[in-house]
């Protein structure tokens, strides 16, 4: 039986600020409680399918983002419902939303409540680059926010809140 709540941390720890996901997963280890799975994955595209299927109802995703519209370390929070309706801009960019849609269409055990916590990066393309101090300093904050969401979901009624 899988845990009711999953925190999925994404990123590539070889790529400067993209190492955030790995660091967050390490930070969360042991802190989330037995009813919460904390996973780290360096996966991309369709490989994400393996991490958002066969699971419980609630997913909290921690990832890096580069919008260029905020200072490094800024935490952006989205609900999946805020982001929904893939416009088909480019099927090559298959990512979380389309994978979730696919998993639901095929009844693969996808979560129905998804929150994305994305930390603004300074550099996520330099192989072997160091994490920006402001991104690093966001790790405890983004983890605390993830745990707060988890706590809220523990008491949430079933279904999409």
């Amino acid at each position: 039986m899988s845990a009711a709540i999953r925190i999925l941390c994404l990123g590539n720890d070889l790529l400067a600020d993209d190492a955030l996901g790995r660091a967050a997963a390490d930070h969360l280890a042991g802190a989330a409680g037995p009813d919460v799975e904390v996973l780290y994955a360096p996966s991309a595209g369709f490989a994400l399918l393996d991490h958002v299927t066969g699971m419980g109802q609630h997913l909290v995703l921690i990832d890096a983002i580069h919008t260029g519209a905020a200072d490094p370390g800024t935490i952006h929070e989205f609900r999946e419902v805020d982001l929904l309706a893939p416009a088909g801009s480019s099927p090559h960019y298959v990512g979380l939303l389309e994978v979730l849609e696919l998993a639901r269409a095929l009844d693969l055990g996808a979560p129905d409540d998804v929150t994305v916590l994305a930390v603004e990066t300074a550099d996520e393309i330099t192989v072997g680059g160091a994490m920006h101090p402001l991104v690093r300093s966001a790790i405890p904050r983004v983890c605390a926010r993830a745990l707060a969401i988890v706590e809220n979901r523990r008491h949430a009624p079933a279904g999409r809140s």
Binding site: L14, P42, A44, F46, D50, T67, A87, S89, E124
Partner: protein
């Protein structure tokens, strides 16, 4: 007044600014130049320096979130060359078996879920339907489940031998870290039988959904998506399609062989052209020379990936794929085929070949031999390796000191090989659709179709949120000032704006 305008089509991904299309207009508002910005990871060479070469198969496979198995294999082959060591036959076969398994999986995903929206759903379908859900609606939930189940099974097999599914760790100089047991061989054979059946099914589906539709066929052969260039790909000793090993063969726009070389010679044949307006390096054939973004036998522009591989191959070594290969060329007017969108069909032919090859190797008695390693004894200096990644020819090149510590590393990835032709395709599609300063809504889709057929790799544009952010087109003056915008929102609504939006 001399003035250029620049349009940026930017699918805002997690990594904004990567994989975007830039279109520069001349003063008359016509497309002067269009190009596709291929993301390039920074600092790889520096990161590799000073590390033991044996780490490279693990490091290079972890850099890319899209085709790690291809990097792992190219890197492992570069180590074979670096240490001048030949893997025992069983090790070579195990590598190719795993690689064939990977190719079935990757091609299936691409055909159904990445290319599917263009052809299974259709280029004329509303944008809101041109996504994976649209594909499922057309092919049915059962087929969708079948694709996913096949993928899972193949990934489990790769993980079994490779150590990890996402980033295999089994390749070593001179062999592999782990052999295959008789029980595991039986599982490979069962999976391969299903994969072959799946390949046949996919080819049938391609017939009924795409080829039976004259509109699609007209689009495939249309001039807007056609370029007469050179082609490059690996072939075996009888010039047949191969993904794992062999010689790199180059044919001209007339399908006549122009070059045939091994990985060690790649620098004699492949050069990189730099343009001031792009950080992308454009590969070209050194011996033909760079003549600009232009078609023809005199231009060094070449193309890799499924269509190119079939164009350089005199045939395919397995029976079902050979029949599919013959039908492909008979239908599209003979070899070579210059229609970019035919890549989707070529990918299905290759899927069938990979499945049949998986079955052949899985059934080979030698595959369970415990003789899987030749220990290196030579002092390393320099090694090169090449494989066919799903997206095209992939070169790895390392120079080391006498201890095998990297002094210099160079990779030429598939999308780099294709970058000049991708730029030409994007430009041609844009020219056909852009008139004056008016940006056609259809531009977005048609331009994207032009590059999507190549399946350009956005290795660092990982886990993006497609459709979750607006698509932006910016018209800029040459000073960089935004003079007009077009934004397509997540609900498909298009908003036009004025300056500085």
């Amino acid at each position: 007044m001399e003035e250029r305008r620049r349009i940026v089509i930017d699918p805002i991904t997690r990594l904004e600014g990567h994989g975007k299309i830039d279109i520069i207009l001349d003063p008359a508002g016509q497309v002067e130049r269009a190009y596709f910005q291929v993301p390039e990871l920074r600092g790889f060479e520096k990161f590799a320096e000073g590390r033991p070469a044996e780490e490279m198969p693990q490091i290079t496979s972890r850099i890319c979130g899209v085709c790690p198995t291809a990097h792992h294999m190219a890197s492992t082959k570069a180590l074979d060359d670096l240490y001048r060591v030949t893997p025992p036959p069983a090790a070579r076969k195990i590598r190719e078996l795993v690689y064939s398994t990977f190719m079935v999986e990757d091609h299936a995903l691409h055909f159904y879920f990445l290319g599917g929206p263009d052809f299974v759903v259709g280029p004329q379908a509303p944008a809101a339907e041109r996504n994976v859900l649209g594909v499922i609606a057309r092919v049915g939930v059962e087929t969708g489940k079948r694709v996913i189940a096949m993928r899972r099974r193949l990934r489990e097999l790769i993980a079994l031998v490779g150590g990890k599914a996402v980033h295999p760790v089994f390749g070593l100089p001179g062999g592999v870290a782990r052999g295959i047991s008789a029980e595991e061989q039986a599982e490979f054979i069962r999976a391969a039988d299903d994969a072959v059946e799946f390949g046949r099914f996919t080819l049938d589906l391609f017939h009924s959904v795409v080829l039976a539709n004259p509109t699609y066929v007209d689009l495939i052969v249309s001039d807007a998506f056609t370029h007469r260039t050179h082609y490059m790909g690996l072939v075996d000793d009888r010039n047949r399609l191969n993904f794992y090993d062999g010689m790199v063969r180059v044919v001209g726009p007339d399908a006549v062989e122009r070059a045939r070389f091994g990985a060690r010679e790649y620098l004699e044949y492949v050069a990189e052209h730099v343009e001031p307006w792009s950080y992308v390096k454009f590969c070209y054939l050194k011996q033909v020379g760079w003549k600009g973004f232009t078609d023809g036998a005199d231009s060094g522009v070449y193309c890799v990936a499924p269509l190119a591989r079939l164009n350089v191959s005199d045939g395919v070594a397995t029976p079902l794929a050979q029949a599919a290969y013959e039908e492909f060329f008979a239908t599209l007017g003979g070899r070579p085929v210059h229609h970019t969108l035919a890549n989707h069909w070529a990918r299905v032919v290759e899927l069938l070949y990979a499945a049949e090859r998986m079955r052949e190797l899985g059934g080979d008695p030698e595959i369970i031999s415990p003789d899987i390693r030749t220990l290196p004894t030579e002092t390393p200096t320099e090694g090169m390796g090449v494989v066919e990644a799903p997206r095209g020819t992939l070169f790895h090149h390392y120079e080391t000191d006498e201890r095998g510590v990297i002094r210099r590393a160079n990779l030429i990835v598939a999308t780099q090989n294709n970058s000049a032709r991708i730029a030409m395709s994007v430009e041609k599609a844009a020219k056909g659709l852009l008139s004056g300063h008016e940006i056609s809504d259809g531009l977005l889709n048609m331009v994207e179709m032009a590059f999507r057929a190549y399946d350009p790799c956005h290795g660092c544009a990982t886990h993006s949120l497609p459709g979750s952010m607006p698509l932006l087109v910016r018209v800029r003056s040459h000073e960089g000032e935004v003079v007009a915008t077009l934004r397509r929102d997540t609900d498909g609504a298009v908003h036009r704006g004025g300056a500085a939006a």
